[in-house]
């Protein structure tokens, strides 16, 4: 295969060419209520060729049959030639890498060696915990997934990387019903790890079931502006949506007005706020040695002591903006070219304890866990899994449907306390952008307090 890839690259008439070949084996076991919905394995094999003609643009060809690579390279060149970019496109130089990166799964826990029967039994045991938790649990979704990708990336700049990427995940969702009142809760766990990573998660299933039942008794939150304390999970989603997407430079690099708005040195938060993205931390979901353009990953500070100090780049955006490479060009699979994405994004811990954080709040909200979030850059939304009112400095009754609205220029500045209880969150699912979903990412944060958050409600 290596010979064929290198020969195809050599034949290219483009200024730059890269080839990415993937072979992915994936297993799914899914329970829905009492029924086993799926116990199946799939095989996905394919590739992508991406070519750049400096004075024209990019050409991309994706395919399933790996025959005729040289013809694909020519086709990508023809595609690139057709485009007409206004200015020549440059790529920031990366040192040529020659690497073989194997998944460090120990043989005993490598999920490829675990039988479907064992995977089914594990998912079934969690499913049963939820189903038998309460007679008000009417439905469940328990999802076990693993995938093992063998990836080859080669470029005309001399890089040749072979990498194994494992991923295992478990999702437990419980749905509770009382008459017409239907409430759901979910818990997940995912990592580039072996089968043992999702064993022993009984507590996860119990937590989901307990919360779904508890939510039946929760009132819908009254809409308004509140001081809000968010837990590390929601704080992680918050920083990803509120700020992370703004620091992806593909939004900025061709847009002079966006550059003005996102000028380095601008204040976005108070002195205590430091935000970074780091794709090189071992053990996290968004971690790889190299990004999908062959650039080594590393820590990149985005906000330091409240001031914008950096942003995330691909080779093209880094060259265009004259800024250093960050290793953030990522693709979900061979059907897509890499685009600028986050890896593991975090708020650096501060010094405030949780007790201090809620102490002074007369009427506020403690919002916990996340359903998700979406950004339109200046404005964003992030939704909690559940929440409690804070009354006179104490955690009070549970409330539901707490969805927070934010504005980039006010919400970050309104963070007035950052906790010391930092943790990383590795949830299943991932981030979506430009039709590429789900990309594995991790979030990290401590508890955070934000003043004047808009919460929709009755």
């Amino acid at each position: 295969m290596r010979d064929r890839i290198e020969a195809a690259l050599k034949s290219s008439r483009a200024d730059y060419t890269e080839i990415r070949i993937e072979q992915r084996d994936a297993t799914t076991v899914a329970f829905r209520g009492r029924n086993l919905e799926e116990a199946s394995a799939v095989v996905d094999t394919g590739g992508i060729v991406r070519s750049l003609c400096r004075n024209n643009g990019w050409g991309v060809v994706t395919f399933n049959s790996l025959d005729g690579l040289t013809a694909r390279v020519e086709q990508a060149y023809q595609c690139a030639r057709a485009a007409h970019s206004e200015q020549p496109i440059a790529l920031a130089p990366v040192p040529a890498a020659q690497e073989q990166i194997s998944a460090s799964l120990d043989a005993k826990h490598d999920f490829r060696g675990i039988s479907m029967a064992d995977k089914k039994a594990l998912a079934e045991s969690y499913n049963k915990i939820m189903l038998t938790f309460s007679d008000r649990i009417v439905d469940t979704q328990t999802h076990y997934g693993d995938s093992f990708t063998r990836l080859t990336f080669a470029s005309s700049d001399g890089t040749f990387i072979e990498e194994e990427r494992p991923m295992v995940s478990m999702v437990a969702s419980a749905i509770a019903r009382d008459g017409d009142n239907v409430q759901s809760a979910h818990e997940t766990r995912s990592g580039q790890r072996g089968f043992d990573f999702v064993q022993g998660c009984e507590q996860l299933a119990r937590t989901a079931a307990q919360r779904a039942v508890d939510l039946l008794g929760a009132e819908t939150v009254a809409g308004g502006q509140y001081p809000v304390v968010i837990d590390p999970v929601l704080a992680g989603v918050f920083i990803h949506e509120a700020f992370g997407h703004l620091s992806e430079s593909d939004f900025v690099y061709e847009n002079p007005k966006a550059k003005e708005m996102m000028v380095l040195g601008r204040r976005f938060g108070q002195d205590h706020l430091t935000v970074f993205d780091d794709g090189s931390i071992p053990g996290l979901r968004g971690t790889h040695r190299y990004d999908d353009e062959g650039t080594p990953t590393r820590r990149n500070d985005l906000i330091k002591n409240g001031i914008l100090v950096g942003r995330l780049h691909s080779r093209e955006t880094a060259a265009k903006m004259g800024e250093p490479l960050t290793g953030n060009a990522r693709a979900i699979n061979y059907r897509h070219p890499p685009i600028v994405r986050m890896t593991n994004t975090a708020i650096q811990p501060g010094t405030t304890s949780f007790e201090e954080m809620i102490q002074g709040i007369k009427l506020g909200i403690y919002a916990i866990d996340a359903y998700g979030g979406q950004t339109a850059l200046e404005n964003f939304s992030f939704s909690s899994g559940y929440a409690h009112m804070i009354r006179d400095g104490k955690i009070a009754e549970m409330v539901k449907d707490v969805i927070l609205a934010g504005n980039l220029f006010t919400t970050l500045l309104n963070i007035d306390a950052i906790g010391s209880d930092f943790r990383w969150i590795n949830h299943a699912g991932g981030c979506g952008k430009g039709g590429q979903f789900p990309l594995p990412v991790a979030f990290g944060a401590p508890h955070v307090r934000i003043q004047d958050v808009v919460i929709g409600g009755k």
């Binding site: 089914k120 439905d139 809409g223 609205a405 220029f409």
Partner: protein, 432 residues
């Protein structure tokens, strides 16, 4: 090698689905034609019923067919016991889903269309950045089963989408709209003209008070009401008992003005096809008629579990087994002209686009969303764009009383046909 025959020899029932598609994409980034892409996709998926148990396997590697046989049978050995029966051959409606004019669109012609869209928008908003994505393709789908179904059809999807980013100081406005069709649409610029109208209206910024007021949802905005309904009408959620309307067929749940239809048999629409992805002929399914719940959407499996017939809503990607999903979903238009609806509002909100669609506990009907594009209506006129506000509610409460549904309807985001919907009162939370 005839896969179906091989599977039939080992199982009571067998189904083989083959998919082949080619697509060309042209992308304009920051007003310039930057990337062109060619995609070739092929794959095969199989399901068997073996000893009454259902198994599934899929592969995009045509050389892995031996594994397909082994894996689908292994999957069945663990599978669920479902009384599913793959269908007998049935006549399907004539539905036009292939228009040679679409594959005949040359790259040069696609680029010309993209440029036309960029030019139209730049003429009214010279400082904007426009990203346009034009995608045309040909899909061939073949569904076979042991009962004799040999359904194959071709589709020619065309989608043209445009995102406009307009930044002024710290004000960021992002608009998106698209055309999705399987038949060449001479009026392909209609969605771009709608974007221009919204851009013009959005020039004036104004504010709105927090509190209760009438809310008018545009066809794109009304998706926030439609999405929880789609969940509630999904046969899977009905069977599992989580749909709040699971046992209410025949009951009047909504205002007379609410009629919801699923229809994949319309010529040339984005989600149209003669058969669903399980070889069941498509049909027109009335889900809600004048406020009365008529039925739900089923695929073969959920229909078998529920003891009803599939409504032809089995939908699948190559790597997933089918599940019931809407095809072209239509919220029927009403009788009131839009202009009259706006003219009748003294103080209210026009919702064009929301953030975080689908977040939260939508199966319960609840939604709560910040608005990414909304306008204030004052004394019967749209007076400007409003920012930093949120709406929340539950569709099962809100749709009990609808002030008016517009005569005008629009196809949005491909397979959704929506009118303007005016609700008498909702709570608005505004920053300030």
């Amino acid at each position: 090698m005839d896969i179906l025959k091989l599977l039939q020899a080992k199982a009571e029932q067998a189904e083989v689905v083959q998919l082949r598609s080619e697509a060309t994409t042209i992308e304009f980034e920051a007003n310039r034609f930057k990337t062109s892409k060619v995609e070739e996709t092929s794959g095969i998926a199989a399901r068997v019923v073996c000893n009454g148990r259902l198994g599934f396997f899929a592969s995009s590697d045509e050389k892995a067919l031996d594994r397909l046989l082994t894996n689908v049978l292994e999957s069945a050995s663990f599978g669920d016991q479902v009384p599913i029966a793959f269908p007998l051959p049935q006549a399907a409606p004539q539905v036009k889903t292939y228009d040679p004019a679409i594959p005949d669109l040359t790259v040069a012609r696609l680029v010309e269309i993209g440029q036309e869209i960029v030019d139209l928008i730049m003429a009214v908003e010279p400082a904007a950045q426009v990203n346009v994505r034009l995608n045309r393709g040909v899909q061939e789908i073949k569904i076979q089963n042991q009962a004799g179904v040999e359904a194959s059809f071709r589709r020619s999807p065309l989608s043209i989408g445009a995102e406009v980013d307009r930044i002024e100081g710290d004000d960021v406005l992002i608009l998106y709209d698209m055309l999705g069709t399987t038949a060449w649409d001479k009026d392909y610029m209609a969605f771009a003209r709608r974007l221009v109208d919204k851009l013009k209206l959005a020039r004036t910024l104004t504010t709105v008070r927090s509190g209760k007021m009438p809310v008018l949802f545009s066809p794109t905005g009304s998706l926030v009401l439609g999405l929880p309904l789609m969940e509630g009408l999904n046969g899977k959620n009905v069977f599992t008992g989580v749909s709040p309307i699971r046992d209410k067929v025949g009951e009047k749940l909504f205002d007379d003005k609410v009629t919801v239809i699923d229809d994949a048999t319309l010529d040339g629409k984005f989600s149209s096809a003669p058969y669903d992805d399980e070889g069941v002929p498509h049909r027109r399914t009335v889900l809600v008629e004048h406020g009365v719940l008529k039925g739900f959407l089923y695929d073969l499996k959920t229909a078998a579990q529920s003891g009803v017939e599939s409504t032809g809503n089995g939908t699948r990607g190559l790597f997933n087994p089918p599940s019931p999903e809407p095809t072209n979903l239509i919220l029927a238009g009403g009788t009131t002209p839009l202009a009259e609806m706006i003219a009748g509002i003294d103080e209210g909100l026009l919702v064009e686009d929301i953030l975080g669609l689908g977040q939260g506990n939508i199966i319960s009907g609840a939604f709560s969303n910040p608005l990414s594009l909304a306008f204030k209506i004052e004394k019967g006129e749209i007076v400007g764009r409003v920012k930093d506000l949120s709406i929340a509610g539950n569709v099962y409460d809100l749709l009990k009383q609808v002030t008016a549904v517009s005569r005008e309807t629009l196809w949005v985001y491909g397979g959704l046909c929506m009118p303007y919907v005016l609700l008498p009162e909702m709570n608005i939370v505004a920053k300030g």
